[in-house]
C-alpha cells in the first residue's frame, strides 16, 4: 500500500538516508528499527512531508504530496517524536484537531471521539484537562488517538517508547495491535527499543547509517538476538551485517 523507492534525505551536505526502499502492505504492522542516528526519524518525516527529500513515495499507487498538511488528507498520519500535543489546548480540543482534516466541528464530536475513548478510557476522564498537564503516558495516548481520528489508512509512529515506563509501552503496543486487528489500519513503528516493537510487527526493517541492512519477517530478527545485539551494541558488526545480507 505504502511504497517508497530510493528515498534520500540530506541535511545540507550530510546525507542521512541513502535511497532506501520500503513496502508496507495494507493492514500490516511493520517495525523500523535501528540504532541512534540510523535515519529512522528522517524516514518518517520525509514520508510525512516534513522534510524535503528525493525519491518516490506512493500511497495506494498515488504519489504522496510533499507538504505535510496535504499528506494527512491522503490518509497518512504521523505521530511525531516527543509527544507533540498542543499543550495549552484541552484533551478534547487536541482530539478535534486530529479530525481537522476530516472537516470536524464540535457538532457530532462525541460520536467521533467515542472509539478513542473506548480504547483509552483515561482520556475520557481527563477530556477537559489541558494536554500539557497530562502525564507522559497519557500524552502518548492522546497523540495516538489524535492521529487515528484522521481515519488514516496508515499511521506512522515515531519512538512510542521514548521516556515511557516499559509497562506503559506494552499497554500502548497492545492497543495498537488491537486497533490494527479491528480497523485494519496499517502501521509503521519506529522504535529504538526493538524487542517490544518486533513482538507485534509482522515484518521489520533494520536500518543502519541510512541504509536498510535487513528486511524480512520480524520474527526472525526477534529470535536472532545476536544480530540485534550487534546492531545496537556493536560487536563484530561487520561480520553480522554480511550474514544478514545473505
Amino acid at each position: 500500500m505504502l511504497t517508497a523507492r530510493g528515498l534520500t534525505v540530506a541535511y545540507g551536505p550530510v546525507k542521512v538516508l541513502h535511497g532506501i526502499d520500503l513496502d508496507i502492505a495494507s493492514g500490516e504492522i511493520v517495525a523500523l528499527i535501528g540504532p541512534n542516528g540510523a535515519g529512522k526519524t528522517s524516514t518518517l518525516n520525509a514520508i510525512a512531508g516534513l522534510l524535503p527529500h528525493q525519491g518516490e513515495v506512493t500511497l495506494d499507487g498515488e504519489a504522496l504530496p510533499t507538504a505535510a498538511e496535504e499528506v494527512v488528507r491522503k490518509g497518512l498520519a504521523l505521530v511525531p517524536q516527543g509527544r507533540r500535543v498542543f499543550p495549552t489546548m484541552s484533551v478534547e480540543e487536541n482530539l478535534l484537531m486530529g479530525a481537522y482534516s476530516k472537516g470536524a466541528r464540535w457538532k457530532g464530536s462525541d460520536e467521533r471521539f467515542a472509539p478513542i475513548y473506548e480504547i483509552f478510557p483515561r482520556l475520557k476522564e481527563r477530556r477537559r484537562q489541558e494536554a500539557g498537564r497530562l502525564s507522559g503516558g497519557e500524552q502518548q495516548m492522546l497523540v495516538i488517538g489524535r492521529a487515528l481520528l484522521s481515519q488514516p489508512k496508515i499511521v506512522l509512529i515515531d519512538e512510542l517508547s521514548l521516556g515511557l515506563a516499559p509497562k506503559m509501552v506494552l499497554t500502548l503496543l497492545e492497543t495498537i495491535q488491537r486497533f490494527n486487528a479491528e480497523q485494519g489500519t496499517a502501521c509503521l513503528l519506529v522504535e529504538q527499543a526493538a524487542t517490544a516493537a518486533l513482538k507485534i510487527a509482522s515484518s521489520a526493517y533494520l536500518l543502519q547509517r541510512g541504509e536498510v541492512v535487513y528486511h524480512g519477517p520480524a520474527a526472525r530478527l526477534r529470535d536472532d538476538v545476536d544480530v540485534l545485539h550487534s546492531a545496537y551494541l556493536g560487536q563484530g558488526t561487520a561480520r553480522r551485517e554480511s550474514a544478514i545480507r545473505r
Partner: protein, 299 residues
C-alpha cells in the same frame, strides 16, 4: 470614595486599551512569530479614514467607523499576502512591520486633505452624554461605557472564536506547535491571513473606541502601543490572560499614582519600567536555566 471610583474607572479604561493593543500583538506573535510593531499605525489609518468619511464626506458615524475597520482588515490581508509571506524569517517580517509603522505614521501627512495639523476632533454621537454614579460625585461618559462594552464583547468574541470555531482552534494549534499543526492538516496559508486581518481590524477598532476620548492624530496609538509592548512582556509575549492582567495592573498603578500621589513627579510614567524590572527579576530568579540556544530541554 469619589477618588476611588475615579481611579477604578479610569484605570479600567486605560487597562482596556492596553489589553486590546497587547492582545492584538500577542495573537500575531504567537501564531506567526512576528512582533507586529505596526499595530498602532494601522489604527491611525483606520481612524483617519473613518474621520474622513464621517466629517468630510458626511457619512453617518457607524458606517464610517465600519468602513475604517474594514480598511484595516483589508490592509492586514494584503500585508500578509504580499509582504509577510515573501519573508521567510519572522525577524525580517518584524522589521517589515516597523517599516509599515513609519509609513503609516507618515501617511496622515501625505494625504493633502487630511491636513498637517496635529490632532483632529472625531466625536462619537454620544459625546457629552454622561451617567452619574449613584452615591458618588462622579459620572461616567457614554464613550467610556461603550469602550467597556466593546472590550467585553471583543473578549467574548475572541473566546468564542478561539474555543469553538475551526479556524480559532487551528490558530491555537499553530501557536502551540506549528509542526504538529501541519501534521493535523492545518494550512498555515489559511490561518495567517485570518490572524493578520483580525489583528489589524482590532487595531482599527481600538482607535475608534479611543478617538472620542482623545484627539485623533498620527501618534494617538503609538504611546499606548509602546506601553502595551512592555505589558506584553509581563505575559512573556505568550499568555493572553496574563497580558490582560498586566495591562490592568499597569493602568491601575498609573492612575492611582496620578490621583493619590500627584506630587511624586514621573512615578506614574515610570511604572512600565518598574513592572518590567519586577517581571525580569521574577522570571530569571526562578531561572530559565538555559544560558543559550544549546540548551534544548529534552522532548
Amino acid at each position: 470614595m469619589t477618588k476611588l471610583i475615579q481611579t477604578l474607572i479610569i484605570g479600567l479604561e486605560y487597562g482596556c486599551v492596553y489589553s486590546l493593543i497587547a492582545m492584538g500583538m500577542v495573537l500575531v506573535y504567537r501564531t506567526t512569530g512576528v512582533l507586529n510593531i505596526a499595530h498602532g499605525g494601522i489604527g491611525v489609518l483606520a481612524g483617519f479614514i473613518a474621520w474622513d468619511l464621517n466629517t468630510l464626506r458626511g457619512w453617518p458615524y457607524f458606517p464610517a467607523i465600519g468602513a475604517g475597520i474594514l480598511v484595516a482588515v483589508a490592509a492586514g490581508l494584503l500585508f500578509e499576502r504580499f509582504i509577510v509571506r515573501r519573508l521567510a524569517a519572522p525577524a525580517l517580517a518584524t522589521v517589515a512591520t516597523l517599516a509599515l509603522f513609519l509609513l503609516l505614521q507618515g501617511l496622515v501627512f501625505v494625504v493633502p486633505w487630511w491636513g498637517n495639523t496635529w490632532g483632529q476632533v472625531f466625536n462619537s454621537p454620544f459625546a457629552n452624554k454622561q451617567v452619574a454614579i449613584p452615591g458618588a460625585d462622579y459620572s461616567v461618559s457614554w464613550d467610556q461605557l461603550i469602550l467597556f462594552g466593546n472590550v467585553l464583547l471583543f473578549f467574548a468574541g475572541l473566546y468564542f472564536i478561539l474555543r469553538r470555531t475551526r479556524v480559532g482552534l487551528a490558530m491555537r494549534a499553530v501557536s502551540d506547535d506549528p509542526t504538529a499543526a501541519r501534521l493535523m492538516g492545518i494550512r498555515q496559508k489559511l490561518v495567517a491571513p485570518v490572524v493578520w486581518g483580525l489583528a489589524f481590524g482590532l487595531s482599527g477598532l481600538t482607535t475608534m473606541l479611543l478617538a472620542p476620548i482623545l484627539l485623533l492624530d498620527n501618534t494617538s496609538l503609538t504611546a499606548f502601543t509602546l506601553k502595551a509592548l512592555t505589558v506584553t512582556f509581563v505575559g512573556g509575549l505568550i499568555s493572553l490572560p496574563l497580558t490582560v492582567l498586566g495591562a490592568i495592573t499597569l493602568s491601575m498603578l498609573e492612575v492611582s499614582t496620578q490621583l493619590y500621589l500627584p506630587n511624586v513627579k514621573g512615578l506614574s510614567d515610570a511604572w512600565p519600567f518598574l513592572i518590567l524590572i519586577v517581571v525580569l527579576v521574577a522570571r530569571f530568579a526562578r531561572g530559565t536555566k538555559a544560558l543559550e540556544d544549546t540548551a534544548v530541554a529534552p522532548a
